[in-house]
Symmetry: D4
Subunit: 216 residues, 8 copies
């Protein structure tokens, strides 16, 4: 038994109809469904065919929850952003965490140019079981957070910024060469992947569950 | 009390004398020491001034163990390589794990061009609490390992290969765009960082210990 | 006599009318025609002027077969993809093979993150006379296939993936630095070129035929 | 029985002693040996321990021939260079071909800035069963050769040239975007890989032989 | 007196109205006008306000000839392309030459994959006073032409090709590292600049005329 | 009168003898001298011929002070580093400031992974008239400093770090896309240039003095 | 009291409604407002809700001036462009300067290919208290200006040019490696950042005012 | 008869003995010889075997003049540098010009940060029949020179500068996107190629002579 852990559909490059078809099949099989990279238009199509489909517009995810995912025996996972433009990527992470039975703790807009904002949230950061830190431009936030806490830090570069932000590559490279050690990194904008990385790290609910399967 | 968790010295760009000086001070303070990126010549200098200094030539690390690091309550951490040229980076990871009280389980030379070698070690991979996977050239091994196990996978690109291997950047980019989800990545050749990332993920020994401190 | 081997028109940057004009001239000359990189809209225009024109939408190719191309005296050519998003490029290869008298054997969606899918198709791969392997993202599939078979492997990087996939360059570089030796590579998305490379390798039908000619 | 097909040792990053050790073991097992990327100094060390070891200085390869590799039932393979600076890479290809039972036909220094040199060798090119074409700088030779012959063309970019030659990347990219279709490409300077690609294409001697194995 | 040498307007980023305004002023001052990078829509607007305005759609240039430019005392200038997709850039060069009193000799679609096409035009190439050679993809044509003639060769890379063609950078780099010496190069797609470079080289009509002036 | 403002010699690529020759001439003309990018060996040669020559080994600068530079009517200029490996670049800036009559206030090793170190120096930062901030790796320090003070911040990327640090380019790009506004940036490792930028900003001593002249 | 110094809203990625909402709140709080990167359509929306909103179309900025910003005790700041295509970026700088109480002195279209244009404006350049120099293509203007004046020069690369202009990166790199020392640089197209950098350098009006705050 | 026009040997990658051998053969055949990219050590070896061999150390060229090259019927060719570090490349151009019967007119160290130096040499520039302009760092000099004269301008980027100078690529890209039209460009450091380009442009001595031949 998979216990409510979702199967995941990568929505990009698939039509609303294709997504709906795959989702219907999963639902018939009794599995929860998580769709990522889906826009409002496609979501509407899926929603018409899969009634319990819930769309999260900022995260650009959609989900069907046949059964609630079993809650995981650990503290919430901090999902942190440097600026509000990073929130979309963060929401993809947060929605994925929820679908996996992990509780997201959103800590948004605490970028390093106003260091007091970050210092005010230190307690929240310290009580989390891990932190997913999303930042664009110079991508400095994971370094500062990584120096403040000793739990896992997964850094997610975002494509925020212009010119030398290089569509997220500057943040990516900055995070990989972070002066805070033990920070690990996922692809640009890959909020889903960050949540999956944390999923691998966290204790499973009562019984061992495998990785969410992917389809299509 | 820091309970045997080491302080870390980054040896690159420091002279043998400088490293010895910092190490002596730490030893006097009763702390374990881990030096990374240190060559045989510098290690000899340190060894003359710090008697219990142990040099690991392949890993290019050195350490002083005032007290053994408290053993961590978890299964060994797999340290995996695609080819023997990746072993240096893997050894840096393995030595760092040991210094942190984590047991490394070396699984070397199981690259994807001979997939049977990998299949033969599947049991070992599955019983580990996490896997650090080191690969150069096309950097494909973390994708295959990531699809086989559900525990944390930290990928370490190495600079192995020529031409389009781009000094490790091809492996880095391949790992970040891995088709296996939840793989996270550290900088090229950063075996130390991979071990530190796993350190953040694993349960601490009896009492909470912070991050190893750094000096210098 | 050219024996049904087609002339090739590169459709990109040509209008439907231009393609139709060139194709009509070829048909008048009694030659088979293969058009690549043609979309549905242009294909409709060509179809109105060249009645026997057949459009393959996924491959984005079109063809006119005045006479069937003489069958080549060899086993089928495997056309392999890592994921379904690579299928368009694979279809361009498959359609080109068919036009050249070579039989494509489609083996789709066997990417390395689920290595069992690949192992299940090993027999098919082994009986092919060559393999065209299409993959995006980390481009690892040709390495694994190259280690399994001793016949020619032509790798085709695709632009599938985001961020560090670099529009296909990561897959390209990975394939060129593959740890499986004797894999050769063509340009990103160049399914046509891969088929042409295999065409050069395979025995010709009864009498020597030259390269397909190009026009335009 | 492997019938004289060699096992291959990649010499780079291995000491003369390490290479000698691996080679001795192979010789004891009765297998031919091919070492690539070996310099004169290491070769001398191997030569002292493995008496029948033959060093090819320009190719930077060494070999031990326990039994001559069975001759392959096909015409010679052309090994072509644009300028004399490309000859080292070409020799690596030629030596590898020989070790595999394929006859190299050297056609050197026929670069495109003196097109008559190329035209003079057209007959030789046409009678070969395949062509390995090595060129640096603008990497134009495979395009011209590819338009002249209908047999397989494997292009090998070399690091010859300065500034915008980009250490071979300009030639590599030029070859991949060649206007002659069906040219496939290997990594910069990878003469060995080109020969292995041709090895996959050519008919095997009497009985099926696998890929040369690699060790170390 | 400027003797019919045009003033030049760079049309990109200017509206049709702006171009018309500048052109009218020049015409009033009695100067010939050349507009580059102008599309059909803008050209229509200019044409309504400047009656003698002539638009060359393929070249994307427009011109007003108050007085014919004085013919230059030299042989025609060859304008050469590798494929028909390079013709737009070539036409920009040809139209600019004409506006400067130089006669363009168009030699189109003689790319190196069919070397005979080039050889057939050798006489034409040899009688020209200079050659502007436009090529995309691997950009090999200037090397071959440069080896055939001893007059000036100005190479113009074009953005033709996909993937590793890198939007013209591969052709650019190839041309700069050309094995034919004395070839000089202009920016990607800069047919205008190539013609201006030749303008600097060619003898002036009877009296010394300066550079065409630019405006706006 | 130049009032003790130095002439500057860029030592790189000049021999000790050449530098000594230029310096002697300047000294004869009664001007202060600053040499940058000079190593100990060259400095020894200069010191033998120019007796009052003072060498600063960490900064790799040398200077001759005929007359002390007139003190500038402003608070000290903070020279800040993230890690001790950035100190060489910082010292080049500090020595240049001194030679220009500006007082450097060194604030070293306060990188963002230990944010408390930075917070402890906030008072020093706030009383400076400007800050030169040197950082390698992810180059995050200028963003944090820029958010804390309202005086000029000139960021200097350094080549510290490996892999994705890209020899200083990641720090450079991060600083240019800094989320703290009004930070301006100089070339990688250009401590001299940063000091010169601040020199332009600060009030001149009593009478207007021009830019330091350069020679050689 | 903030004395008329504006709060700044970065308009990109925000809807007209969002911008209007933030602006209204600021206006209610009695603060001046500066919006950057806002287009005509969004500006119309803001204008309907915030009556005193003034839109500057070329600069793509909008502002609300509750109270005029206190005039700063210094000479005007030169805002210089190489060509008219650089004027948009220059206007963003000029509008920002005005909002900060600094007087912009526009010196436009004096690029280096017509050096006399620059020489004619030397007096204007010399009487300014600082120069913001905007240039695309080869980005040479700051070097020439930097050699002419001894006051601060902040260089702003623009994305003007095609091909090797690399969307502004060539100008950026040229400015950073300028042979005129003490030139500092901001991100591509960052006219706002250049004005903010000058703001940090210039004397404050009567009483100390902090940095403009940013919101949203 | 070749009338004293030299054959050219590219010295890089050839031993002194190899160069001597080729040169001896040419001398025997009665041809002038020009060797480029030769260092003092190799030159000494050649000098011992070829008595009339003359070495130019700054240019790193060597030559044998059997007969003086026939003087060309045109004004001298300006060879211009921005800084003294560019002089090596300029000397390669100047020596090549001399070997081709063209008179070099050296105009050195007139870079744009001191524009008066350039203005002082305007007369010299104007009377030259063409200008070869060598510059590193931001590569701005050809733009300014190109705007001052109407004769051919061949720009040569040099590798002078650090960091964002990118080993000459910034200068190269800047020159290709120069705002002065009709400037053409050769590879980084290719003084030889620039001279050859001018050779193609200039009138030949009395009788038609071909391109210098190359050997080796
Ligand atoms: N091999 C390594 N790669 C990257 N960072 C390292 C390595 N070894 C140590 N470090 C980090 O380097 C810092 C210590 O540097 P230092 O103070 O210069 O000795 C600490 O942040 C360590 O976490
Ligand atoms: N999909 C493709 N990718 C690359 N080259 C192609 C493709 N299809 C056709 N070609 C080549 O394009 C040329 C025909 O181009 P054209 O003369 O413009 O129709 C021939 O060299 C073909 O071999
Ligand atoms: N460390 C440095 N980095 C960059 N430019 C420098 C440096 N030191 C001196 N310079 C500049 O180098 C030039 C002097 O070069 P030179 O005439 O070759 O001695 C002047 O423009 C100086 O401003
Ligand atoms: N400095 C140089 N840079 C680029 N090409 C050169 C140079 N010197 C000679 N050559 C070219 O190198 C070729 C001679 O090479 P080689 O036959 O190896 O001596 C000819 O094409 C020359 O035109
Ligand atoms: Mg914010
Ligand atoms: Mg799939
Ligand atoms: Mg430190
Ligand atoms: Mg064609
Ligand atoms: Mg191995
Ligand atoms: Mg203008
Ligand atoms: Mg100088
Ligand atoms: Mg040669």
């Amino acid at each position: 038994l998979r216990q409510g852990v979702p199967e995941v559909i990568f929505g990009e490059g698939k039509s609303g109809e294709q997504i709906a078809g795959i989702a219907e099949e999963m639902v018939r099989a009794g599995t929860n469904v998580l769709v990522t990279r889906i826009d409002a238009q496609k979501a509407a199509i899926v929603g018409q065919r899969v009634p319990s489909f819930r769309f999260a517009p900022l995260a650009r995810t959609g989900s069907v929850e046949i059964a609630p995912p079993p809650k995981r025996p650990c503290a919430p996972v901090a999902v942190v952003t440097a600026g509000t433009s990073d929130n979309e990527v963060a929401e993809e992470a947060a929605e994925t965490l929820s679908a996996l039975g992990l509780e997201p703790l959103r800590i948004y807009d605490i970028g390093v140019a106003g260091i007091h904002r970050l210092l005010h949230r230190m307690e929240d950061l310290r009580r989390a079981s891990a932190a997913i830190v999303c930042a664009g431009m110079e991508g400095a936030l994971p370094s500062v957070v990584g120096g403040m806490i000793s739990t896992p830090v997964v850094a997610v570069p975002t494509a925020v910024g212009y010119g030398t932000a290089l569509g997220g590559f500057t943040a990516l490279f900055a995070m990989l060469t972070s002066c805070a050690s033990g920070v690990s990194v996922v692809n640009i904008g890959n909020g889903f992947g960050a949540a999956m990385a944390v999923h691998r790290m966290m204790p499973k609910a009562s019984q061992a569950t495998e990785q969410p399967k992917t389809a299509g």
